[in-house]
Subunit: 368 residues, 2 copies
DNA sequence: ATGAAAGCGCTAACAA
DNA sequence: TTGTTAGCGCTTTCAT
């Protein structure tokens, strides 16, 4: 009971050649715009192609040339607006150079990421842009390189890999964010992330370098502002909505409740919003909040959330541009691009008592 | 200056065959698991493949068989969480049957949609799932069918097209939403959408059937609740954030300000939130709000927004399932699936004075 | 059960 | 300038 579709044989270059009464090769030259063809013949071929509604078969072309004009993109979470926007950047830039984009979602899962990569390779993508789900596993990435396909890492680094990277300078960004808080007088901070606590015990050693960098910056700035180490807390593991709520409610209900939270991304920030409501806390009066990523809702809610805006779209265009550049010149030196994030001050930080804040404020302005 | 990569020749079936000392055909049979091979030979071939790290070339296979194991998906706006979730539904379901997904974004632009479709067809997708950007243009869709590739319409219909459709019952959903409002005593309503006002003058004749259906339901319910026709307004054209703000500020600042707004999607609802803040209006005290789509932020903000939740993920799985079904049986009857939406009552609707509301309330409960 | 050979649609040497 | 021919890697008759 397998009545498959007949998969209509479509018009091939052979049909066009016959119609135009030339050889396949000549038709190919006219159609492909390479080699040399007389004007008369070209017109004849193009006319025939038009008449027959000829559509080149990209697969056959790829098989013959080894190039597909396609870039593979693998992101961690397609539902995250951050990646949505970055992907648009990639697509827009790729289109400029005539590249198509093949998109896949790893769901932050290594096995899925590996499978997606294998599929893309087997489908003949010319190169890959990947936001790796883990900084520690690079075998599959090495293989891409071994197969002669260029690779660009997006938003997340894999230390030691000899590839181009396009990421955000998360350390400076986090420093900035933290300074916004300490400058407003906050001395009890908490960084909240979905990442799991690193086994090594070193908080910056999380699986995503993007998060690790942010934590570094946070810790640095807290130290610089002489925040007591035990008051520069980090809350790991806010993976699902439920887990985030449990964690946050415990945190906000506890005795050592922080006066300010730095959310690792806009999804976390939303959960902070939700949890503070559940705990009967008001932002910013009872709790100040800063988050990475200028998600659309952050400016519409009350209070509008102060954010560290990331150059998300630019991240995408830069990644695509880098890949295309390397496609054209395999020998160009490897580059690690760190784009700067920029703070957008809104209304979710409350200035709390204390002195010396103005000095820190100046310090902040140096960085902006 | 075109130093392209050497594109390493990878291990082919020929290499495996040689290593296993059998013919190409036999190797292919063993590897592909079809035809007949003796156990001994199969082991030899599989062993060699393993040893050489053989990866089948999907392109070559597609060229030879005409099937690619790939489904093409074209959505209107990948950044919209609605489509993000639907795409995940599609991917998950497709993966169950071993299909890969090729994703493209039309940006709600017809030309882009057509181009994406051509690319996918030329790359040999087995079938297509499309959320068409316009109900009126179907030439490119007809062509998919003509090429013998099945097509499933997602979320939006193209009236008259003989294809499977998986959509939401938007008319009932909108009726429900409107009844929520009228039952609470609202008599001055406004439906706000990004769609442009139809040239025909018929408000339900917008380019997207999903929106048209919702408008039908809205109008029906308003009429049934004896809302004065001029108070069942429709506000078209809230395309960009800026346009939405301009429109909404004018609407909310005007003399005939509605007491309740029905937002066509969560993006619009967010703009309503923003605009009401700008106008100094409080939700729900000064303005009630209902929206389609249970976006994550709607339950986290204050007040939490009453929404009509759509079965978004299910929409995706159903679409994938339908396509795969047709791939296996081209002759199965065409189906139009209408999934039901369900209201989630939160805190953005205020009960306003007046009588007779209880009667309408009962009416509502019939539908829930 | 296995092998030889043709072919999917296109490109790219090489000849003419 | 144009045609001939040989692949790209795989599947699939048709023989053996």
């Amino acid at each position: 009971m397998d009545k498959r579709l007949p998969a209509q044989r479509s018009v091939t270059i052979t049909d066009v050649a016959r119609a135009a009464q030339v050889s396949k090769a000549t038709a190919a030259r006219a159609l492909g715009g390479y080699g040399t063809v007389s004007a008369a013949v070209r017109d004849r071929v193009l006319g025939a192609a038009q008449r027959l509604d000829y559509r080149p078969n990209a697969l056959a072309r790829t098989m013959a040339t080894g190039r597909s004009g396609t870039i593979g993109v693998i992101v961690g979470d397609i539902e995250n607006p951050f990646f949505g926007l970055a992907v648009r950047g990639i697509s827009d830039r790729a289109k400029q150079d005539g590249f198509d984009v093949l998109l896949a979602n790893s769901a932050e899962d290594l096995a899925t990421e590996q499978a997606a990569m294998a599929v893309m390779l087997s489908k003949g993508v010319d190169g890959l842009i990947v936001a790796p789900s883990q900084k520690a596993e690079r075998r599959h990435l090495d293989e891409v390189l071994a197969r002669g396909r260029p690779l660009v890492l997006l938003d997340r680094d894999v230390p030691g890999m000899p590839v181009d990277v396009v990421e955000v300078d998360g350390r400076s960004a986090a420093r900035l964010a933290t300074e916004l808080l300490t400058a407003a007088g906050h001395r009890r901070l908490c960084y909240v992330t979905a990442s799991l606590a690193p086994e090594s015990g070193d908080p910056t050693d999380v699986v995503l370098t993007s998060v690790g960098n942010r934590i570094s910056g946070y810790l640095e700035a807290a130290k610089a502002a002489a925040v007591e180490p035990c008051h520069a807390a980090i809350c790991f593991g806010a993976v699902t909505t439920q887990e985030a709520q449990d964690l946050l409610v415990a945190l906000l209900g506890g005795p050592q409740r922080p006066s300010a939270i730095l959310a690792s991304d806009s999804k976390i920030a939303l959960e902070v919003f939700r949890a503070s409501k559940a705990c009967g806390l008001t932002i910013p009066d009872d709790l100040s909040l800063v988050t990475f990523d200028d998600a659309d809702w952050t400016s519409a809610v009350d209070p509008a959330v102060t954010v560290i805006a990331q150059p998300t779209y630019a991240l995408g265009t830069a990644a695509a541009e880098t890949l295309i550049g390397r496609l054209n010149d395999a020998d160009r030196p490897i580059r690690r691009q760190q784009l700067k994030a920029s703070p957008i001050c809104r209304a979710s930080i409350k200035r709390v008592g204390g002195l010396g804040s103005s000095a820190v404020l100046e310090q902040v302005s140096d960085h902006v």
